[in-house]
C-alpha cells in the first residue's frame, strides 16, 4: 500500500519542471500511473525515458534538458543550429552555447567545432563570421550561405545600430 506521505509522480514532475528540470524515470520515488502519464510530456532518450510538465515546460526546452542530462552535447548543438536555421530562420551565435541553459565549457565548444568539421553527419553545418569578430553557425540545408552571412552581421552589429 502506498505510503500516504509519498509525493505522487505527477507532483514530482510538476515540481521539477517548474524549477526547469526534466525527471528521469529512475528519479521518481513513486510509480507513475497511466492517468498521470497522459497528463505529462515524455521524451525517450538513449538512457531511458524523461518526463516533464507541458504546462510549465515547452517540449523544445525539455529536449535541451534531456540532451544535457545525457551529455549529448554534439547532438544538442547540431539540433539547435538546425532548428534555428529551419524555423526562424537565423544563424546561431557560438556564444550561445557558453551561456545558460547550455553552459558548455570552452573545451566542449572546441570539441564540437572540430566534430562538425571531421565527423560524418554534420556536413550541412557551416560557420560564418561578423565584423565584430563573433562566429555563428548555420545549417546550409535550411539557410542560404549568403543569407546566413547577412543575418549573422545583422545580429552582431546591425541591430544595435538600428534601434
Amino acid at each position: 500500500m502506498e505510503n500516504e506521505n509519498t509525493v505522487s509522480a505527477l507532483d514530482q514532475i510538476k515540481e521539477k519542471s517548474a524549477a526547469g528540470f526534466v525527471v528521469h524515470e529512475s528519479g521518481l520515488s513513486a510509480e507513475i500511473t497511466e492517468e498521470e502519464r497522459s497528463m505529462v510530456g515524455e521524451i525517450k532518450g538513449e538512457k531511458g525515458v524523461y518526463f516533464f510538465d507541458p504546462n510549465t515546460m515547452a517540449p523544445r526546452y525539455a529536449s535541451i534538458m534531456v540532451n544535457l542530462e545525457e551529455k549529448n552535447y554534439l547532438a544538442l548543438a547540431a539540433e539547435t543550429i538546425r532548428n534555428d536555421s529551419r524555423t526562424y530562420p537565423r544563424t546561431t551565435p557560438l556564444a550561445l552555447f557558453s551561456e545558460s541553459s547550455f553552459s558548455f565549457t570552452q573545451e566542449t565548444v572546441e570539441i564540437i567545432l572540430r566534430s562538425f568539421q571531421d565527423k560524418p553527419g554534420f556536413e550541412d553545418i557551416e560557420k560564418c563570421g561578423a565584423s565584430n569578430g563573433a562566429m555563428h553557425l548555420f545549417s546550409k540545408k535550411y539557410l542560404d550561405p549568403a543569407q546566413a552571412e547577412y543575418l549573422c552581421e545583422w545580429d552582431e552589429v546591425g541591430r544595435a545600430e538600428n534601434q
Binding site: R90, Y150, D155
Partner: protein, 701 residues
C-alpha cells in the same frame, strides 16, 4: 456629440507676441482625435504655406489625446508638431517625448497647447490648472536642460512636470531637442521654442481623466491587455532558451533571465525568469541597460524607468561614478538612440586609461548621453555623428573650417578615444561656435554649404534615405519594400515602429505569415529576413496599416514602441494579440462607439492631411519625384548580388516604383504623383483641404 470621457475639454492657446492666453473648445478638433491629429489641423488652418520653422508666424503644438493619462497601457506620450528646420522645405513634422508631461497636461485640463508668436525676452510658461502665466526666464536662459528643469521644478513644486530646451534650442540649432523628466527627449523642434524665446513649459494639474466604463469592466480590459503584452517593442519571446518558452530569439528585448541583475540597486535585483503569466513582473522583462550600454551595463544599473502608465520601463537608469572625472553627474538615464547617437561621435573608438573596455563603453555612452541632453542637441537618428565622421575622414572639415578654428578643436581627444571630446564637440554645436557647428543644421544644409557631392548621398555607409536629409530608420532591412516605403513618406526619419515591432517579435517567419494572412489577406506581406520577394499587394496593405496605426497611436496618444499588440507571448492564443484593443480603449474611455475600421479611417484622415500639408508646403503635386525619391545606394548596394536573392536587402528600381504606386493606391492617392485626390479628401471629410489645394492648383489632374 459633446465631449465625454477622455478628452480634457479645452485647448490652451498662448500668443507670445501679445502675451495673450486663451482657451478654446476641443470639439473643433475631435475629428483629428488628438496629439498628432490636432497638430496637423492647427498647422493647416493657421500656418501659411511658405512659412519657415523659425518665423514668428510658425506655431508649435504640444498635443495629447483622449487616452493620454487614462491609465491605458503606455499612454504617457506627448506629440509635438511644427515646421522642421532641418527639412529643406521646412515641412511639417512631429517629435515625441514620453515621461509624465503629457498626463500632467491632461490633469491640468488641456488636450493641447498651441504656442504662437514670439516673446521679446526669454520666458517660460507656467500652467497650474486654469492659472496660466508667462514668466521671466532670464535666470535659465543660457543654461542647459537639467539646470532649467530643476529650476522650474523648484518654483512649481515636485509634483509638476517640465519640458525645456538647452542652449541648442535657444540658438536655433536645427538638430535640437525638447526634453522632459530625467530621460525623455523629443528631437527636432527645440529651435522652434528657441525662436519664440520660450525656454520651458511647467505644468501642474489637479484634475483627472474621466473614463466612461464601469470599474470592473475597466479592470478586466486592463487585465486582458496585461495578459497579452510582451517586452519592449512587443517582443513576445525571451532572448535565451527558457523552460516556459517554445520560441526564443537573440534579438528579443525580453532579456530577463536567471542571474541577470540590476546590480546597483540596493539590494541588487534579479530580473530572473519572467513567464507571460507573471504579469506583476512585466517591469523586469526588459533589462534595457544590457542592450544600451553593452556587456557591463547591468553592473551600473540602478533600475529601469519610463513613461506614465507603462509597465515596460524601457529607460536605463544607471549610476556611473567615473562620470565625476568629467565633471558630470554620475546618475544618467536614457534609452536606445539617446545612448547610441551621442556615443557614435567617438567614431575612432573609446579608450580610457585604467578601465576595461566594457566599462569604458558604459562611461562613454552615459557621458555622451548626458552632455548631448544637457545642451539639448538631437542626433538626427545617428546622422550627426555619421556626418562628423564622413566629413572628417574625407578631409572636408579641414577644407571648410578656418585653420585657427580647426586647430582648436580637440581632435587629440577624439583620436585618443577620450570621451572628454563630447564636451568640446557638443558645446560647439549647441553654441553655434564656428564652421564646425554647421553639422547641427542637418544633412541637407551641410551639403548646401559644403558642397559634399553626390557620393555623400549615395554612400551606403552614410545611410541617408532621401535627399530630404534624414537617415535609415527601420527601412529596407525591415521586410524590404515595407520598411523602405514607410521610410519615404514622412518629412524626417520615419518614427514608425508598427512594422518593426511585428517583424522583430521573435516568432518564426511562417507564423508571422499566418498572422499576415489574417490581417492583410496575403501571407506574402512578410518575407524571410534578407530574402525578399518582389512587391505584393499584401506588402502595400501592411505598409498602410503600419503607418495608419503609428499615426493613430501618436494621436490617441499611445506608445508606438509597444502598440499595436498584434502578437502576444501566449501559445494558447497561437501567439495572436488583439488589433482591436485601441478601439476598445477608445470606446471605454470616451464612451463613444467607434469600430476598429472607423478609428483607422480617422488616422488615415490625419496622415492624408500630413500629405496634403507637404504638397502645400512644397508647392508641387509630384510627391513621387520631389519627395519620395531615394538617394540611390538602396538599388546599387551589394554589386555582386541581384535584388530578390538571398543575403541582400538591395531594392530594385522598377519594383520600388511599383511599390510607390501600390501604396498610393492603398491610401487613395493619385497613383502617378502620390498626391491626395479630391475624391479621397472628401471621403475623409477633408473637403476644405481639397478646395484650398484646388485654388493653389495642387490637386492631381
Amino acid at each position: 456629440m459633446a465631449i465625454q470621457g477622455g478628452w480634457a475639454g479645452k485647448i490652451l492657446r498662448v500668443n507670445l507676441t501679445e502675451g495673450k492666453i486663451s482657451h478654446e473648445d476641443t470639439e473643433k478638433y475631435k475629428n483629428y482625435i488628438g496629439g498628432m491629429g490636432f497638430g496637423y489641423k492647427v498647422i493647416w488652418d493657421e500656418v501659411l504655406a511658405g512659412t519657415k520653422a523659425y518665423d514668428e508666424a510658425n506655431k508649435i503644438v504640444f498635443g495629447v489625446g483622449p487616452l493620454t493619462g487614462s491609465g491605458a497601457l503606455c499612454s504617457g506620450r506627448t506629440n509635438i508638431t511644427s515646421l522642421l528646420a532641418s527639412n529643406p522645405f521646412h515641412g511639417v513634422s512631429d517629435s515625441h517625448m514620453g515621461g509624465h508631461f503629457a498626463v500632467e497636461l491632461k490633469y491640468a485640463g488641456y488636450n493641447g497647447i498651441i504656442i504662437e508668436g514670439k516673446s521679446e525676452r526669454p520666458v517660460w510658461l507656467r500652467i497650474e490648472d486654469d492659472d496660466v502665466s508667462i514668466e521671466d526666464a532670464s535666470l535659465y536662459w543660457g543654461h542647459g536642460t537639467f539646470k532649467t528643469i530643476t529650476g522650474v521644478t523648484a518654483v512649481m513644486g515636485g509634483d509638476s512636470q517640465v519640458a525645456a530646451i538647452g542652449q541648442a534650442g535657444e540658438n536655433m540649432v536645427n538638430l535640437s531637442v525638447i526634453r522632459t523628466g530625467p530621460s525623455h527627449s523629443a528631437g527636432g523642434h527645440g529651435g522652434v521654442m528657441g525662436s519664440k524665446n520660450l525656454k520651458a513649459i511647467g505644468v501642474k494639474g489637479t484634475g483627472a481623466v474621466h473614463i466612461n466604463m464601469e470599474n470592473m469592466e475597466w479592470y478586466n480590459l486592463n487585465k486582458f491587455t496585461m495578459s497579452i503584452i510582451g517586452a519592449n517593442n512587443q517582443h513576445v519571446v525571451p532572448r535565451t532558451p527558457q523552460p516556459w518558452a517554445e520560441h526564443d530569439h537573440p534579438g528579443s528585448r525580453w532579456t530577463a533571465k536567471k542571474d541577470l541583475y540590476w546590480e546597483k540597486a540596493d539590494p541588487p535585483i534579479e530580473t530572473g525568469i519572467c513567464t507571460p503569466e507573471q504579469t506583476n513582473k512585466v517591469g523586469y522583462r526588459t533589462m534595457k541597460a544590457m542592450l544600451d550600454l553593452g556587456a557591463n551595463g547591468p553592473k551600473y544599473t540602478v533600475r529601469m524607468g519610463g513613461c506614465a502608465s507603462c509597465p515596460i520601463r524601457c529607460h536605463s537608469h544607471v549610476n556611473v561614478p567615473q562620470l565625476k572625472n568629467y565633471g558630470a553627474d554620475p546618475n544618467v538615464a536614457n534609452t536606445c538612440m539617446g545612448f547610441f547617437g551621442p556615443f557614435s561621435v567617438m567614431f575612432k573608438g573609446v579608450n580610457i586609461e585604467g578601465e576595461h573596455k566594457d566599462d569604458a563603453t558604459v562611461i562613454a555612452r552615459a557621458l555622451g548621453s548626458h552632455v548631448a541632453d544637457e545642451y539639448g542637441v538631437w542626433c538626427n537618428y545617428g546622422q550627426l555623428s555619421r556626418d562628423l565622421k564622413w566629413t572628417y575622414e574625407r578631409g572636408i572639415l579641414r577644407r571648410v573650417i578656418p585653420a585657427a578654428e580647426y586647430n582648436s578643436i580637440r581632435w587629440d581627444l577624439l583620436k585618443k578615444g577620450d570621451p572628454g571630446f563630447f564636451e568640446d564637440f557638443y558645446r560647439r554645436i549647441a553654441m553655434k561656435e564656428g564652421e564646425l557647428s554647421r553639422l547641427g543644421e542637418g544633412a541637407y544644409w551641410i551639403d548646401r554649404h559644403w558642397n559634399l557631392g553626390e557620393e555623400y548621398w549615395t554612400d551606403k555607409n552614410n545611410k541617408l534615405w532621401t535627399k530630404i536629409g534624414y537617415p535609415v530608420h527601420h527601412a529596407n532591412e525591415s521586410n524590404g519594400q515595407v520598411g523602405a516605403l514607410i521610410s519615404s513618406m514622412f518629412n524626417r526619419d520615419a518614427q514608425c515602429h508598427t512594422h518593426q515591432n511585428f517583424l522583430g517579435s521573435g516568432l518564426p517567419t511562417k507564423l508571422q505569415q499566418d498572422v499576415a494572412e489574417e490581417l492583410w489577406g496575403d501571407r506574402n506581406a512578410i518575407d524571410e529576413p534578407a530574402n525578399y520577394r518582389p512587391m505584393s499587394r499584401g506588402k502595400a496593405r501592411f505598409e498602410k496599416w503600419s503607418i495608419v496605426r503609428n499615426v493613430l497611436h501618436d494621436s490617441l496618444t499611445l506608445c508606438n514602441w509597444m502598440w499595436p499588440l498584434a502578437l502576444s507571448p501566449l501559445k494558447e492564443r497561437n501567439y495572436r494579440g488583439d488589433t482591436a484593443l485601441e478601439e476598445k480603449y477608445f470606446t471605454a474611455v470616451t464612451g463613444e462607439e467607434m469600430s476598429e475600421e472607423e478609428l483607422d479611417l480617422a488616422a488615415e484622415r490625419i496622415f492624408t492631411l500630413h500629405r496634403a500639408l507637404t504638397v502645400k508646403q512644397m508647392g508641387t503635386v509630384n510627391m513621387r519625384e520631389e519627395h519620395d525619391r531615394l538617394t540611390g545606394w538602396q538599388f546599387d548596394m551589394d554589386p555582386d548580388k541581384e535584388a530578390f536573392t538571398a543575403g541582400t536587402i538591395k531594392l530594385d528600381r522598377d519594383d520600388f516604383e511599383k511599390g510607390l504606386t501600390m501604396l498610393y493606391e492603398e491610401m487613395g492617392w493619385d497613383p502617378q504623383t502620390g498626391a491626395p485626390t479630391r475624391e479621397t479628401l472628401e471621403k475623409l471629410q477633408l473637403k476644405y483641404v481639397a478646395d484650398e489645394l484646388e485654388t493653389l492648383d495642387l490637386l492631381p489632374a
